[in-house]
């Protein structure tokens, strides 16, 4: 469904600060895949997401959505196919607007016309949808979002993204900025939504055990390359120790990133 072919991304090309973030990445994402991505800082995980979402164009290589080449398509056009959730819970919603206004903006993607769509029927619909979250948000429809917690806002972003039913959901460490309780809650919701609605998703995480627990496929990135791609039965039986060993077998160097190793429970 989504295909990356030999994607390379070089920042500051031709200067002393030249930095190759992606080195010839080829990847095929199948419909219904829930891919987790791990890798140390600077491995190119977020750059990969930015390239898929269209925040910038790759230096070389092509991106295909359903066989259409979208390499040059601007980000806002690609957004019709992609739902993206960032680490910063503030990026998914507008603080200065009410909950119902935010839901209205996110209800339909693409150009917004001069129609007043937010009516009592819509409000009723939004209220029913908010009940899924079981956070009591349905009683606070007219409150501005700056009054909500990071966890609530991220849950809301997740809900609105899922309801727009994108072809692909990109989750960029979307629980990393939350406290452990909220992070666990959002992660459970994410897993539930993706399975229930049969969505295709890619999730970056710093937590190896999360990466192993969730999803049907795991990618490990290192210095701009995908060095491990494990799915199916092998993925189900994977342990953190097994993943560390596999890394060693491939790269013949110890996995020394403290953050990555410390974060498993």
């Amino acid at each position: 469904m989504i295909r990356l072919e030999n994607i390379t991304k070089v920042f500051n090309q031709g200067t002393v600060n030249e930095n190759t973030a992606l080195r010839g990445i080829s990847l095929r994402v199948k419909e219904g895949d829930f891919i987790t991505i791990v890798g140390s800082n600077g491995a190119g995980k977020t750059t990969l997401f930015n390239t898929i979402a269209g925040s910038f164009q790759p230096t070389t290589g092509d991106i295909f959505f359903n066989e259409d080449n979208v390499t040059k398509m601007p980000e806002f056009r690609r957004a019709k196919y992609i739902g993206r959730i960032f680490q910063d819970p503030l990026l998914g919603t507008a603080s200065n607007m009410s909950l119902e206004d935010n839901m209205m903006i996110c209800y339909k993607k693409g150009f917004k016309g001069l129609k007043i769509s937010l009516n009592s029927r819509m409000r009723e619909k939004f209220r029913d949808e908010l009940k899924i979250l079981e956070m009591g948000l349905e009683t606070r429809m007219e409150h501005n979002l700056q009054l909500f917690s990071g966890g609530q806002r991220q849950a809301l972003t997740l809900l609105m993204t899922v309801l727009s039913h994108p072809d692909l959901i990109l989750l960029d460490e979307h629980t990393a900025a939350l406290d452990p309780k909220n992070a666990a809650l959002i992660l459970e919701l994410t897993d539930r939504f993706i399975l229930e609605k049969k969505l295709t998703a890619m999730m970056i995480t710093h937590n190896m055990s999360h990466a192993i627990k969730y999803g049907n496929r795991i990618l490990m990135m290192h210095k701009g390359e995908i060095i491990l791609d494990i799915s199916g039965e092998e993925k189900k039986n994977l342990t953190v120790e097994g993943l560390v060993k596999k890394f060693y077998d491939v790269k013949h160097e110890e996995l020394t990133n403290d953050e990555l190793l410390m974060s498993h429970e």
């Binding site: 019709k80 206004d101 209205m104 150009f111 501005n144």
Partner: protein, 298 residues
């Protein structure tokens, strides 16, 4: 006198609504205003003298303002120029354009011409004094524009513009072309400013190329004064606040002119007063924030 303050407050209130859209809703500090205000006046005056229907002239002034705003937005979007500089560029170019529109003159008097105001006062002549006719007329004009804007900001497009100033990434993620949205928002804003300029020309009886100097400061001061009155997240309250702010600003300026005479202030000092007013507003706003922090700490 007192009705004069209200009339000017309402006329300038239309401009302040435009400034409010760019500065507060879009978070796009737009200085085109200093050029699009006299642009509206110039188009209106030269079309009245050219014998066009006054309402067609008013609409042309609106479109002229929209075009000026779109130019600023396109410069900003296409050339990746900071929005402040894009506005200054358009504003500077408009100086020459405005003089061209007025037929290579810097000033165009409207004496003994039919304007919207002379038409309206002639209809009510003998029933209501002309000063009050004008006041009632501008009250309805300002309210009509206010309600139209309230309605616009409740549409899907209006909501999206509201989100744009706060969170561009979110708007992009919803598959919206933010460059187009900025052009619409800044265009609409300058359209309103030009309409305000067109009414000013008719009210004062002339169009002048220098009419817009410092107008954006005046608009911003009015917006800030309004923000002290009450806080809300409802668009209808926000736009109402803007118009009240504009009237209060005109009141303060009137007092400055009236009593300032005694302490040696001249009309030339009013721009200094306007600037100081903004600085005072900012200082009060900052003081408020500091108090808030103290409360949280305690």
């Amino acid at each position: 006198m007192i009705e004069g303050i209200f009339v000017e407050g309402l006329i300038y209130g239309i401009m302040v609504l435009g400034v409010f859209i760019t500065f507060r809703i879009l978070d796009f500090p737009d200085l085109t205003v200093d050029g699009s205000f006299p642009l509206g006046a110039a188009i209106m005056a030269s079309m009245i003298i050219g014998g066009y229907n006054v309402f067609i002239a008013l609409f042309a002034a609106f479109l002229g303002g929209v075009a000026a705003g779109v130019v600023t937005a396109v410069i900003h979007n296409r050339l990746k120029v900071p929005n402040l500089l894009a506005g200054i560029l358009t504003m500077t170019m408009l100086w020459s354009v405005n003089i061209r529109i007025m037929g290579n003159r810097a000033n165009l008097p409207l004496l003994k011409q039919h304007t919207i105001l002379t038409d309206i006062t002639s209809w009510t002549e003998g029933i209501i004094p002309s000063d009050y006719t004008i006041l009632i007329f501008f009250f309805f004009v300002a309210m009509a524009i206010k309600f139209a804007l309230d309605l616009f900001f409740r549409t899907d497009m209006g909501l999206t513009l509201g989100a744009l100033g706060n969170n561009e990434q979110m708007v992009i993620s919803q598959g919206v072309n933010i460059n187009l949205m900025k052009a619409i928002g800044v265009g609409l804003s300058n359209g309103l400013v030009a309409v305000s300029g067109a009414f000013t020309a008719q009210y004062q009886g002339f169009a002048d190329v220098g009419l817009g100097t410092g107008i954006v400061v005046m608009g911003l001061a009015s917006v800030m004064i309004g923000e002290f009155i009450f806080t809300s997240n409802r668009i209808a309250v926000l736009t109402f606040r803007v118009i009240i702010g504009s009237i209060i600003y005109k009141g303060i300026m009137y007092l400055g002119r009236y009593y300032g005479y005694h302490i040696g202030l001249t009309p030339n000092d009013l721009k200094l007063v306007a600037g100081l007013l903004i600085i005072i507003c900012l200082m009060i706003a900052q003081g408020k924030k500091r108090n808030l922090f103290k409360k949280v700490a305690a």
